[in-house]
Every structure is written in C-alpha cells, then in structure tokens.
Amino acid sequence: MADAVAGYGPGTMYLGGGTNLVDLMRLGVATPERLVDVSRLPLGEITEDERGGVRIGAAVRNADLAAHPVIASRYPMLARAVLAGASGQVRNMATVGGNLLQRTRCTYFQDVTMPCNKRDPGSGCPAIDGDHANLAILGHSARCVATHPSDMAVALTALDARVHVTSTSGSRVIGMPGLHRLPADDPSRDTVLEPGELITAVSLPPPLPGRSSYRKVRERASFAFALVSVAAVLDTGGGGVIRDCRLALGGVAHVPWRAFTSERAVAGVAGDRDSFAAAADAELRAAAPLTRNVYKVALARNLIIETLEELVS
C-alpha cells in the first residue's frame, strides 16, 4: 500500500475494478498518463470489530459485499442497495472504493464535445437549460446540477459509514455524509479527497435496531440508474412511536443526500402516513427543481412515505 500511494503523482489515477474509470478513459473524459492498480492490495477483507461494527476493505468487490453473511444478515439494506445497482457483471468487478468515487452520469459531463463546468471549469453548464430530467433537485448550484449515481453510497450515508483514507501525508477518517461535496462554485471536485489520497476501508457502526429498506425507482425494471432512491432505517422499539430514523436519498443531488430534516421531524412521533408526509415535506422544502425534473419532488416525497410506511407495517 505504501508503494501505491508513494507512486502517486500528477497524471496518476488509482484503478479499482475499472467499471467507471475505463469507461471514462474510453470517452476521453479521464486522461491519466499512469494507472496504479489497487484492486489487488490487501484491502479485500470484511471483518467485524469488537464493538459489533464492521470494517469493509476498499477493494472488496460489490458482489462479494452484498453476499457476505455479516452484511446480508446485519446490514441487509446495504446488500439490497448494492444488488439494485448495475448488472451482475459490473458488480463482480466494481470495488467499494471505486463505487464511492464513480463520477456523475450527466450526459454533458460524459461528452467531451459539450461544455461542462465539472470536466472543464468555466466552460458552462448546458444541463441547466438542456437535458436535466434526471438531474438534481437539491443542493445544486448555478455551476452544476449533476447527481451522484451510486446506490451503495446512499445506503452507506444512511448507515453513518466512515471512510478511511491514506496518503503519503498520513491517514484520516471521513464521515458519510461528508465524503462527497456539493458543487457550489467548484463542481470539478466530487469529494473532499486530496490528490493522492487512497480509500483503504469503509467502516460501519453496529447496526441500529429496527427495520431497514432500500427502494429504487428507475425507468426500466433493471440495469438503470435511479430516478430517485431511498435508504431507510426505522426503529419503533416495537411500539408506534419512532425512536430512531435514518434516511438518505439517491438521484436527487451531487451527493448521497442524508435527510436530516426528515429524521428530526419523525423523532419521537407516532409513525403514520401523516407524520411521514410532514417529514418528507420538511425535507423537500429546500428542493429547487428544474423545469423538467419537477416530478422528482413528488417521486421523492411518495417514496419516503411509502418506504417508511412499509417499515412500520
């Protein structure tokens, strides 16, 4: 691992499963001069820690993550989110670290003949007046309305994951949410990672009591990115009052969106349709949909309500 990060320099990129990076290289969007293959570093283990949490190596393949007995039994929502993404073939190759760092699928970002503030700062954002039907309704800026495409990241955001990174300057831990940034004035940076930092692991606290779910809505039955998705954990202690709720949304923002406002709104109240609707409305008050993605507000609202209702029934 020390060799991997020591070898980093300008023009270097880390290669995990390649399912996003090779795609971007072939599009001419990513133009590394040098690749460092990190998929075979000793980062492929999933281990339980003494507090009952789990540590997932960054090189663990998505398919192996979803199939791991500890994940499948103790964090089933994470497994479900992973299995909702991509295809069997892609899941066999994609790594946990690479999944977190995958780039937006905004069509203008992927097309080097188009202006794009993320890819070419200052060139403009043609999505704002163009094809944005599948782009952001929350947290976007005048520079960028892209969304983060990962299902796994939405689940990890709801589960309070922590991302362990290392570089030649040392190691640190970044909480989720917090790894990914809002675009603000500089959409060229998707995350808070500094150049050269390598994700080595993702750790999860012990699972919350309660039931959990991942629900994804897309334009066809499989193998498509989310229009909107919801990751939720709900603990009612067996009664009708909500003791704890974790909620994250996918497909709505530049980051996996942790719905803190909704969580606060349902804490301590009876879990029913009305309270869930009020919580969704509170979260989505900040929504600023674009001309052609207004439907996402209703979709997010309905999904939040339906998912939480399912978890109390």
Binding site: Y295, R301, L303, E306
Partner: protein, 677 residues
C-alpha cells in the same frame, strides 16, 4: 427444426463483419458543431503518432465515383449539416492507435446558427413529392369537415413519438480489401449483399462485378443496415489510402449519428363517429423531420388509408428540414408510429362513444381497401381481435378506468390493431446437385430472422427431400442477386425465387435457376395485400412512483401461411418486445441549444432488459391466401412492433384514467399528470 446456423452461433464460431481477417483500423473524426463549415484541419500531430498509416479529411477529399448519395459522399464537402457528421478519419495499425490519433486531429469550424427543433408549426414545413415507398404524401376523399360536424362523437388529439434508434446489438462494421486488379471485397454488416455491392460500386466508381460483399452473419439491423452505411465506404477509402486491408467498426456512440434512426413524429388525429360507432371522418396529419441534404419521408399516415371504412378520409405528411442526421428505416417504417397514434385515437373514440374498443373496430371493418377500393387478398383483423379477446380474457372487462388495484398498483388492459403490407420484390436463385446435397444459392441475408432456416424448409418442400439434404448459401453478393431483408419482404421475395428455381430444377434434373422479375411484376393491381393482427396488453401502474410494468402481452396475427412456427413466434415476440421499449422507455433526447443528440449510448437510450419482459405470447390464425406468392405467406418481421405501444398506452389509461399522448410513457410523465397528495 433448429436454426441451421445454431451451433455456430452458440459456440462463437459464427463470424460477423470485421471478424473475418487481419486488418488495420480506421477511426472516424466527427463534427463538433451542428451547422457551419470546417475552416481548417490540422493533422500534423496525428500523422506523427505511433502506428498511423494514413489520414483522410474533408479539406483534402479522397476521390469518389459518385457524390450523389449525401450519406455516403464521405469527406466531399466542408459544409456541416449535423452534429457528428464525418469530417475525417485516421488509419492506424491498431484500434488504440487509430482512436488516439483521431483525437489528436484539430478541427476549426465556422459555426452557423442551427435548428434541430421539430414543431408542427415550423415555418419550414413542406409537402414532399412522395412518402416512402413511393406513395402519395397526401391522399384524401370525402368531406372531412362535414363528417366531423355530422358526428355524434368526435375527438381531436395530437400524439407525439420521439427520435428512436434501431440499436442492433452488432455495431455497423466493414472490413475492406483491394486486390491487385482493383477489385474490392468488403465483409459488411448489411441487410442486402446485392444492393450493398451495387451502392458501394457506384459510390467508388467501380463496376458491380468489381465489388464483392460478404455477409454470412449479421448481428441485427432492424432497418439500419438496409442501406449502405459509412463503414463500408470508409473502410474501402482507408484501405486504398493505406495499401492494406482496413476495418471500420463504429462505436455505439457513432451509430447514433451515422447509421439512421426513426424520425420523431407529431400526429394530429381527428376522428368522428355516429352513435352506432360507425366512422364519419378520419383525418391523420403528420409532421416529421428530414435532413438538410437527404430527404427521407416516413409513411406514417398511410395506415389510415387501409384500416377502417370511412366516408371521409384525409391523410397528410409534412416534412421539416433540420440540422439532424438523415432519418432512415426502423422496424415497420410508417406503420409503427402511425398505428401508435391511430390505434390510441381509436381507443379514445371508443371511450368517448361508450363502445367496447374491439366492437368499434369490428363495426368499421372495411370490405375493400378504403383508399383504393381494391379487395383485400385476405383480411382477418376482426377474427384476430375476437380470438385474442377470448385468450386474453377480455369478456366481462369493466371499461371504467382507475377502478382496479392490487396493493399500490393500479391495473388495466388495452387492445390495438396491427397491420403491415405484404409485398415481395424480384430475386434470383439457383439450385444444383453437388454430391449428396442440393445446394441452393441466393444473395439473401439472415439478420436474425431465420431466413437460412426458412429458405431451407421451402427448398426441401419444393424439392421433396429432407431438410438435411438441402444446403442453403446466402450472404454473399457473388450468389444470385436478391432483394434485401427489409419491408418484411425477405421470405416472400427469396422464397418465391427459391421455389421457382426448384421448379426449374425438377425440369432440368441437375440444375435450376430462376429470376422472379416477371412473376413479381404481375403482382401489381388487383388486390390489397396486408397482414393484420391484434395486440393485447395488461399493465400495472404505481401512481406514487409512476412505474409501469407489463405482466402480459398477447399478439394474435393473420399473416398467411407461417413457414416455420418457432421462427415466426420468435419474430412476433421480438417485435412486441421492441414495441414495449417504444411504449415505456425508448427515446433519444435532443438538445435544442447544443444542436445534437445528448443520448448516445445504451445506458441513456433504454432498450428493454430481460427483467422488463414477463409474459409475452404470440399466436396466429391459419390464413389461406392464394394471391401472395408460392408459399402463401405474408412477411412477419415487422408487424410485431405495430400496435404494441398503443395497446400498452391504452392499458395505462384503463389503469389510471390518464391519457398520455407522448411516448415514452415514463414515470416522470405519469407523476406530472397525477394529483399530488
């Protein structure tokens, strides 16, 4: 009987274009602007890169024999007519080197204002001389306004369909090699080796006998490989420039801009009927697009000339020239988008009139072809509807919308009619006895239809031998000339030639040949020849999320004699699957400001996945029709897609009460129409 080439396909032994030999690679350079001109091209850096053998550009154009076909007159002009137009190409020893060098070509443009927006009121609308294939753009009779005014029930609705792309799984590809005598061999992915050879020869200024096209296996076409495409010409020019064989394989992205697509349509339907449901007027007005340099007029409203009895009919087509690539054939050109609108409008009329949608069609079933007065060679649309109704469980259907639910899912059913013309074209074939085999030769194409197998059956039946004794050779322009696989005319055209050649073989004993030009010419006049069918759909719609699922599709068809049951069922179901995609998910989005397609790959252009397809079944009636061809068959490759989208859209209305008149029916559209809680 299993497909003749089955073992080759499941073992990976079947070779497609571009897989047949060693070759250098040519990679295209495309226009980054939608309109204007190339002012300069700097290829110096590209030429210095590793492995580069040659560079082609529009500022120093290669010599062609003919520049008449704008789609194939590669590099002959600096004028840019659409985003993605070919402006150059780099030939190199490997794909990676060719691609990298192509990216290093610098192109300067003088861009001009572009227009890619199709609208019904576009000031540039004009009436084409003809619509494909040589039909009148406008055809009317009776008094529409009087018919509508006299109607007890009338509707005036506009339906729209988006840009749709064929997207065969095999990208367009060609491998070209010149010999020392200036003869060209092209392994091309084509739906018609004979026509492809003739076109390539014309464009390059060669005689047809100097060109050979080889195409034993084609990875789908659906119309996009029916006319010669740039890879064949590009590979030939590159091979000439590099002095060695070269292959051109389009990327999926390049296919979107350079291999054709179905034009978007704006269709206004005005229908009027009496209390008894009998139509008093049918007006079908279509607006579509075409390219700046090439005119392509999809025959979208011609189905209304065939379907229903009406005292007044108006069918019109208007085109708008835009800075778009040239539209071209996509499965069931004309009938596919046209019947979507007509059959959706008929459903709306049925609802407005309070008449069952099957009943409405039965009451308006014409005795003769409405536009011409000709008798149908055979027509069993009503029988298809009735049989389908029986099998689908239509009797007792509650016609009210939005009253059935299973949990959060609303359910509904819909029906639509289906039609496609049944024609054939001249072809030639030969039969010779060689060893213990009877070898049948014809330059037909098997693009997945099972033509090899169907023709083997036809020959075996005509020769009265087991199918194993017949060896069918196709996919090579050096074989007897044949029509292309298109217009659902393949089996009818080739089967006729094979049957005639077999008859000749019976007379001669060791060899038979046939050319059906005269026989086919006698087809015209007399009868209206069409296949018909009925499409049924059951849908589930989640009103909170807008998701639509299709648990059941049923197609019942009347298409003459079915040559091979397995092949036919696969064709019908394949077409219906494509119709499901058209209904719910397929769309190439156009960015008006940027002037091009923003969707250019299979992650953005959604075709149905395996999970989208549940119960799809197809069946047919036993239809006898002596007025078609020696086999008594009608083409079936395209009718499967016709009417499917309407049946699904009608079912969505039945489930939700929402009439969505703009394809595809996506969650966004369902949610935008529902009441928010």
């Amino acid at each position: 009987m299993n497909r003749v080439e089955g073992i080759d396909k499941v073992t990976g032994r079947a070779k497609y274009a571009g897989e047949s030999g060693e070759a250098a690679y040519v990679f295209a350079v495309q226009s980054a602007v939608p309109s204007g001109a190339v002012s300069a091209m700097d290829t110096a850096a590209a030429r210095e890169m590793p492995g580069v053998l040659a560079v082609l550009t529009c500022v120093d154009p290669p010599v062609l024999g003919s520049a008449e076909d704008a789609e194939l007159a590669l590099f002959q002009t600096r004028e840019i007519a659409f985003h993605g137009q070919l402006v150059g190409a780099v030939v190199a020893d490997t794909l990676e080197n060719a691609r990298a060098a192509a990216a290093a070509v610098r192109v300067d443009y003088a861009a001009t204002a572009h227009d890619v927006g199709l609208r019904a009121d576009h000031p540039g609308r004009y009436t084409p001389d003809k619509v494909n294939p040589g039909l009148p753009a406008d055809l009317s009779y009776g008094d529409i306004e009087a018919g509508l005014a006299a109607a007890a029930v009338s509707i005036d609705v506009t339906y729209t369909t988006p840009t749709l792309h064929n997207n065969p799984m095999e990208p367009h590809a060609a491998l070209a090699a010149w010999d020392d005598e200036g003869h060209l061999t092209v392994a091309d992915s084509t739906q018609g080796p004979s026509a492809d050879r003739d076109t390539i020869a014309t464009v390059l200024g060669l005689r047809p006998d100097q060109v050979r096209v080889i195409s034993p296996h084609v990875g789908g076409g659906f119309g996009s490989k029916g006319t010669t495409r740039p890879p064949a010409i590009l590979a030939a020019l590159a091979a000439r420039a590099a002095g060695r064989p070269v292959k051109a394989v389009f990327t999926r992205q390049q296919m979107f801009q350079l291999t054709g697509y179905r034009t978007p349509t704006i269709q206004r339907l005005r229908l009027g009927a009496g209390q008894d449901g009998k139509l008093t007027a049918v007006a079908h007005a279509v607006t579509e697009q075409t390219a700046i340099r090439t005119e392509f007029a999809e025959q979208t409203a011609t189905c209304a000339r065939v379907m229903y009895a009406t005292p007044a009919l108006s069918t019109t087509h208007r085109l708008v020239r835009l800075n778009v690539p040239a539209p071209s054939w996509m499965r069931a050109p004309g009938e596919c988008p046209g019947m979507y609108a007509l059959e959706s409008a008929m459903d709306e009329l049925a609802v407005a009139a309070g008449i069952d949608p099957i009943e409405l069609r039965a009451r308006n079933d014409p005795a003769t072809e409405p536009e011409s007065g000709k008798p149908f060679s055979s027509r069993h649309l009503v029988e298809c509807l009735r049989e389908g109704a029986r099998r689908f469980g239509w009797a007792g259907r509650d016609p009210r919308p939005a009253v059935r639910a299973t949990g959060p899912w609303l359910s509904g059913t819909g029906v639509a009619a289906s039609t496609y013309p049944a024609r054939r074209q001249p072809s030639s074939a030969s039969v010779t006895a060689e060893g213990d085999k009877l070898v049948v030769r014809i330059a037909a194409a098997d693009i997945g239809t099972g033509a090899r197998t169907a023709l083997t059956r036809i020959a075996a039946e005509c020769l009265d031998v087991p199918t194993g004794q017949v060896q069918l050779e196709l996919g090579d322009s050096s074989l007897p000339d044949a029509w292309l696989a298109g217009g659902s005319m393949g089996t009818a055209s080739w089967g006729s030639a094979v049957a005639a050649a077999c008859a000749d073989f019976h007379k001669n004993g060791t060899r038979g040949t046939a050319d059906t030009t005269e026989e086919v010419a006698a087809d015209s006049g007399g009868f209206a020849r069409h296949a018909f069918g009925a499409q049924f759909a059951e849908v589930l719609v989640h009103p909170g999320t807008g998701e639509v699922r299709v648990p059941r599709l049923l197609g019942v068809f009347a298409a003459g004699r079915i040559i091979d049951q397995t092949l036919a069922r696969s064709q019908f179901i394949g077409g219906m699957t494509m119709g499901l995609g058209m209904a719910l998910m397929e769309e190439t989005v156009v960015d008006a400001a940027q002037g091009g397609f923003v969707h250019r790959d299979l992650a953005q252009y959604h075709v149905p996945t395996c999970a989208d397809v549940q119960d799809i079944e197809a069946m047919w009636l036993d239809e006898q029709d002596p007025h078609l061809n020696p086999m008594g068959s009608k083409g079936i490759g395209e009718i499967g897609i016709v009417g499917t989208a309407a049946a699904i859209g009608n079912a969505v209305w039945h489930a939700t009460g929402q009439r969505i008149r703009d394809l595809p029916i996506t969650p966004a559209k369902i949610l935008s129409r529902s009441d928010h809680e």
